[in-house]
Subunit: 346 residues, 2 copies
């Protein structure tokens, strides 16, 4: 009887100890990361309405925003491919290669700023970039407005999305509509998010070890918050520069935006949301395996050699950042008219 009771008491003590440890990990994680919400966040100065979201959805998918009328936001930010394009760097007008890997539009509304170098303060400012970039959509605001104005249904859709504005069909409003649509592209309910909400069973032991290592080793210093990254700027290769195959000398990152020496090779830390399905990695897109990417980050950013087991566990943890992918209905785009400018492919 005594032995049975003692055994039970020890069992209770051990269980309690484990529970505390598990609870500790969850509490630490909850202090570092936040779940993706179910609903789009409000955007200051750009209130979402069903009409504006619907217009944004049309514009996001409409290749007529590009000079060739072949390339849309969706081309490089494919809603079926977690908001990115599975390419080293994106391919644009005339099959030209872009300079950097396409960042996902999913959850991008939670990033501090947009583009790898943060040169756009929000998604509306971002949306205007690729439309005009010569290696991307290669268009001009004037031509975009001429095109959209030639399509009566777009005139109506802009009026409905921006009621009370005398001249609703503008390049700025195009960008604002795309912004509110993109804010709907969220991936909630990842295993990590379920865990953060208190579901102890949402992560298995390996994933929990990975989560612990992710925090203990220092990854969470740059990758935290709701997007597990995306919230601040850091030099790439802060401890050890990766090889030129991964990090080209030519791309000086945020330095190109600020012209400040301290910003040389500085990039906005990317969100790790859906990282397991948005290969390849880094601004160069040179690394295809998540395992390799974790290893490189260990040496480049933390100056440590992660063991193979640690890399495996962290990779398994990163796989828990894959959330529920949004199901987007492809818009029926309003037809062109005789006044619509023709595609120009040269």
């Amino acid at each position: 009887m005594f032995r049975k009771t003692a055994f039970a008491a020890i069992f209770i003590l051990i269980s309690a100890g484990m529970a505390v440890a598990a609870d500790d990990l969850m509490k630490r994680a909850q202090g570092q990361f936040k779940p993706i919400p179910q609903d789009p966040p409000a955007i200051e100065g750009n209130a979402a309405t069903p009409e504006k979201v619907e217009l944004g959805r049309m514009l996001y998918f409409d290749p007529r925003l590009s000079k060739s009328q072949l390339i849309s936001c969706q081309t490089c930010h494919n809603v079926g491919l977690a908001g990115a394009d599975l390419q080293e760097v994106s391919t644009g007008h005339g099959w030209q290669k872009g300079p950097r890997n396409s960042p996902t539009t999913f959850n991008a509304v939670f990033n501090r700023a947009q583009f790898w170098d943060g040169r756009a303060k929000d998604l509306a400012e971002q949306a205007k970039g690729p439309v005009q970039a010569s290696v991307e959509m290669n268009n001009t605001p004037e031509q975009v407005i001429k095109t959209l104005s030639s399509i009566p249904a777009y005139g109506e859709a802009f009026k409905a999305a921006f009621p009370g504005e005398e001249n609703a069909l503008t390049f700025d409003n195009m960008a604002k509509a795309i912004e509110v649509f993109e804010a709907t592209l969220l991936t909630p309910d990842s295993p990590l998010d379920q865990y953060l909400k208190g579901d102890e069973a949402a992560l298995d032991d390996n994933q929990k070890q990975g989560l612990k290592a992710f925090m203990d080793k220092g990854c969470a210093a740059c990758h935290n918050g709701v997007n597990i990254g995306g919230s601040n700027y850091f030099p790439f290769g802060v401890v050890e520069k990766p090889g030129a195959d991964v990090m080209s000398e030519d791309d000086t990152g945020r330095y190109q935006v600020t012209n400040t020496a301290a910003d040389k090779y500085v990039f906005r830390s990317p969100s790790l949301r859906n990282v397991a399905i948005t290969q390849p990695y880094f601004h160069s897109g040179k690394v295809w395996s998540l395992h390799d990417a974790v290893e490189i980050m260990g040496s480049a950013q933390l100056g440590i050699s992660l063991t193979n087991d640690e890399i495996d566990r962290i990779t398994e943890f990163l796989e828990t950042l894959t959330g529920h992918q949004p199901e987007v209905t492809h818009p029926v785009l309003p037809p062109s008219t005789d006044n619509t400018p023709k595609p120009v492919l040269d």
Copy 2:
């Protein structure tokens, strides 16, 4: 009293006469054209199941079928643009220009054969063409199978779509799945279809005059049936060859398929379903205005000069062929793995 009665009698006679004339037009139209059905037709030897349609939807939108992993069926057959691409000719791998205008996939299941020259007997055979064409997706069946096999969810999806087949993930089955998905891309309920089903008010007077002219002048000789075309082969420029700007000497049409002199410059008549929103026109894609296209057809195929009024009426009638566009949910595509071949852009 007498005058009142006589007036009423005359009114009845006139009404009856109009009714007969209207009824005649509807009857004639019903003899020439058939409405698009609400549901996809059964395909011989390729029974549709929800699993197969779903797999086909994924494949239709998956750019990983192409060597560059940038081009999908959707690129040139955009479900938001009535199943076509609003381009003179399509642009493919390496920004190469294809030889002909992209025909719509919408209602294509009702065509007698596929491609402008009818070289594919059905949509499954058609689907294999662009995947391999060097100016389109530039891929090989072996590479497609290697790619799809590297993605576990595709293995499962092929098994579910082709149950009982030992080796379900094949190039043939890829094409069959795409075929059953494409058979769902129908545009029923156009004004003409409502008219064919007995709704006298579905067409206005101008459109009815256009319908009458379309039949009287001979257009319906090549453009009839459920797809208002697509059912047989005819020489382009049978009476008067259009200028080389519209009809290049180099494209000999069906002759390239049959090597028979009689097939020189012979093409399958295109379906006119949704013609008002699938510009530009002809296999060359050189004509952007439907009005111009009607005029050219009058002289080239019928040897007549249509008056401007006749062209206007026929154009107005053709606008009644725009049906209800399908709303397609963009698939969430299964993620690539470390074994998935990388995109090749060269």
